[in-house]
């Protein structure tokens, strides 16, 4: 980490769980393990610690599970061993929600397996009846149907529980989702088939029922896998960033605690480069990068006793912070309220599939009721009327409709995932397709959010290399930017760092200094964004730094404009740098010097005008706006709270994937609508046939399988497009 090394007194007891059998366990996120070698090295290394009973690394998730007995093993020893082996490791808090998700995945897979078994078996039995029906005696047919019933009833009741549960939940809220007709069709066709078997009839729908469950479960499981993958990646980032803080005990000892356990009044040690976990007072002077909090692009000096906000990153000398609020109270209270308000407006959004279901469910129920009444009125027996009404329900069962949306969204999110865009939910994609306005934050979103050397071309020759030798010894952002501009090279030895001033080294009998203007004898007026270098008696040289716009920002924004989006920029930074960035990025409409509340208010105002806004931002000050926007996106470097508030998270340092995300979202929407149109067309043709009693179970099964196939193939067109 920073200048302060982790002391052996550190403890990670906050993450240790006690198991019922008396052992203790901890989950640790390990970075960089990729192959069998790493796996063997890590497991053998950790098992080598005496007292450890088991160590197992999951390569798919990057989590190491360690168990030990007694008090002998401090979790710190495990972390230290991993560090010695060359792997960065952080204790991982296995949240209850994650375990629930793993359970849900296993449960779905179990249902798929059971339904798959049932489908193969039942279709084998009923196909024999359909194709060999002429040669088959009535007694044999009854046996076949009896066996089919004995299998499909338990299989369907077990495997289709996800649909029953979801349908029941919707009905309890007096709503209708797609699972209502699915569950209804399954139960009714199962009941009808059992009845037909009992009265020795020629037709049953066992195969259609089980196949329906199987096909829909596959779609649901794929959907689950994709969501879990995208969310898991985002969660991993969050966990790595926020887990720990080092607290000073009254006697001066240091202990490591989970950041969420910090209390007001706690004294926290912060090294250079560490993020401030809670609002508090500084006990000594330092410098901090507050770009995530306010959007200010250059580091700001803090005096002793000054208030610093959570989310700032210490860039000056190490300090002790006296926390003035708990972590969850540290974000401005207004901000928390804004977040909540945003999530409420968002939950009002109705997914396309549910909108279709709202129109579809009454239509289907009504037509099957009409068929029932029609047959009764024309003098048919009750059994015939009932059979034909249920046939309508089965043939219109939204197999195609139930697959239409997930199939497209799986392919779309899969394609975006490959391009470095994590989509957190399917409806985020639907909302992204609707946007007509894009609002950007400046610092860290359009720009890198870190200073970059600007006047390299004007410097005297050799000065940059000489200054970089010193700069490489420091973690200060401007020193790092200087070292970055000079490229790889040697580090000066014996560098002395004076907090709040600069660096000094004695080389070849000359004193070399790198730091602020006063430190290098260039006057007493400290200016932000500059660094001075003085080599012996030679005159001081000035290095100018400025936050730089991402190289692809212009291209990405032009792409958005070409797609008909209105562009806007909102920043907490000063007007002058804001104007410069807006000019380079090609944004005509921008506002500077505004806080989180004004950003959120702007979102609200745009919504009142009927605009659908895409908000792109990274800072804590953007979180409220991100939550209020129609759809929101955060770069991978964004603050945790912003990543949590955003619907999409970008990986990597470029903005270009954003343009592709909008293209994919729009294309996905078109494909979904096409699939809906296809399903409607198919129903228009099938309902009259079913109503007239012309649909045999074989026709129903073929129709179901073929319509699912068409819908899935249509969805796959989305990934064919990406290869072109």
């Amino acid at each position: 980490m920073g200048a302060l090394t982790i002391a052996p007194s550190d403890d990670y007891s906050a993450f240790v769980r006690s198991e019922p059998d008396g052992s203790s366990t901890i989950d640790i996120a390990v970075k960089g393990a990729r192959c069998a070698n790493c796996l063997a090295k890590i497991e053998a290394g950790v098992k080598g610690i005496s007292g450890v009973t088991s160590a197992r690394l999951n390569l798919s998730t990057g989590k190491l599970h360690v168990a030990w007995r007694g008090q002998a093993v401090a979790p710190f020893a495990v972390i230290e061993r991993l560090a010695a082996l060359g792997y960065e490791a952080t204790p991982f808090e296995a949240a209850a929600s994650q375990q629930a998700e793993a359970h849900e995945g296993r449960e779905l897979l179990r249902c798929v397996a059971v339904a798959g078994f049932g489908t193969v078996f039942v279709v084998g039995l009923t196909d024999a009846v359909w194709y060999g029906g002429g040669d088959m005696s009535a007694a044999t047919r009854d046996v076949f149907f009896g066996v089919a019933a004995a299998i499909s009833v338990p299989v369907t009741l077990f495997a289709a529980r996800p649909f029953f549960a979801s349908a029941w939940k919707a009905l309890a809220k007096r709503q209708a989702n797609m699972d209502v007709p699915i569950a209804l069709a399954m139960l009714l066709s199962l009941g009808l088939s059992v009845y037909q078997t009992a009265i020795h009839a020629q037709h049953t729908y066992f195969d259609a029922t089980v196949m329906l469950a199987f096909l829909l479960l596959i779609g649901r499981y794929l959907d689950f896998r994709l969501r879990e993958r995208a969310r898991g990646a985002a969660q991993h980032l969050v966990t790595l960033q926020t887990a720990l803080a080092r607290r000073l005990r009254p006697n001066g000892d240091m202990e490591t605690v989970a950041a969420r356990d910090l209390d007001a009044g706690d004294r926290i040690v912060l090294a250079s480069g560490e993020r401030v976990p809670a609002d508090g007072l500084l006990e000594s002077a330092t410098e901090a990068d507050i770009s995530l909090v306010t959007g200010e692009s250059l580091p700001v000096a803090f005096a002793s006793g000054a208030v610093i906000r959570a989310g700032s990153i210490i860039t000056g000398p190490p300090v002790v912070l006296e926390a003035s609020a708990r972590v969850e109270d540290s974000l401005v209270a207004d901000l928390a309220r804004l977040l909540e308000a945003g999530q409420q407006t968002r939950s009002v959004y109705v997914r396309l599939a549910d909108r279709a279901a709202r129109a579809y469910v009454p239509f289907v129920t009504l037509s099957s009721l009409l068929v029932f009444a029609g047959w009764l009125a024309s003098g048919a027996p009750l059994a015939t009327a009932l059979t034909n009404a249920i046939a309508v329900l089965i043939i219109t069962c939204p197999c195609a409709l139930g697959l239409a949306v997930p199939a497209v969204q799986i392919v779309a999110t899969g394609r975006l995932f490959g391009r470095g865009v994590f989509v957190k939910s399917g409806d985020a994609l639907e909302r992204l397709a609707e946007v007509d306005t894009a609002v950007f934050d400046k610092t860290g979103t359009l720009t890198f959010g870190a200073p970059v050397l600007e006047n390299a071309a004007e410097l005297p020759s050799g000065v940059l290399d000489a200054a970089a030798k010193l700069a490489r010894a420091s973690r200060h952002p401007m020193a790092r930017a200087l070292a970055g501009a000079a490229g790889p090279g040697p580090i000066a030895t014996g560098v002395r760092e004076v907090p709040g001033a600069g660096l000094e080294v004695v080389a070849e009998g000359r004193v070399q200094r790198l730091g602020n203007a006063a430190w290098c004898g260039a006057g007493d007026t400290p200016a932000p964004g500059e660094l001075w270098f003085r080599d012996g008696d030679r005159g001081p040289v000035r290095f100018l730094f400025r936050d730089r716009i991402r190289p692809d920002a212009r291209a990405a924004l032009d792409g958005l404009a070409a797609r008909g989006l209105a562009l806007e920029m909102l920043t907490g930074d000063q007007a002058q740098p804001a104007a410069a960035v807006a000019g380079q990025a090609g944004i005509a409409c921008w506002r500077a010097n505004i806080g989180p509340k004004e950003k959120a208010a702007r979102m609200e105002a745009l919504r009142q005008q009927g605009r659908r806004v895409l908000m792109v931002g990274d800072g804590i000050n953007d979180a409220g706006a991100l939550a209020l926007a129609h759809v929101s996106l955060a770069p991978g470097s964004a603050a945790d709270v912003s990543q949590r508030a955003a619907d999409l998270v970008l990986r990597g340092d470029t903005l270009t994937p954003l343009v592709e995300a909008i293209d994919v979202a729009r294309k996905a929407r078109r494909l979904v609508l096409e699939n809906f149109a296809f399903a409607a067309l198919y129903n228009l043709a099938a309902i009259p046939l079913a109503a007239l009693g012309l649909v045999t179970p074989l026709i129903a099964a073929i129709a179901m399988a073929s319509s699912s196939l068409v819908v899935t193939l249509n969805a796959l067109r989305l990934s064919w497009g990406s290869r072109a």
């Binding site: 999951n58 390569l59 798919s60 793993a102 296993r106 897979l109 078994f117 084998g124 039995l125 046996v143």
Partner: protein, 50 residues
């Protein structure tokens, strides 16, 4: 007819056993870490048994 009964019973038995095996592999967490399992096969465990 008798032969048919035997065949159906046998097929059902084989199917149920395979299903039971699949559910057991699922229950015992064999699909939890596909990447790790692919790599683990390369590790020489010549040392003493754990």
């Amino acid at each position: 007819m008798n032969g048919m009964a035997v065949i159906i019973a046998a097929a059902l038995g084989i199917g149920l056993v395979s299903l039971a095996i699949l559910l057991w592999t699922l229950q015992s967490g064999q699909y939890d870490d596909p990447d790790g399992d692919a790599e683990r096969i390369l590790i020489d465990d010549d040392g003493p048994a754990p």
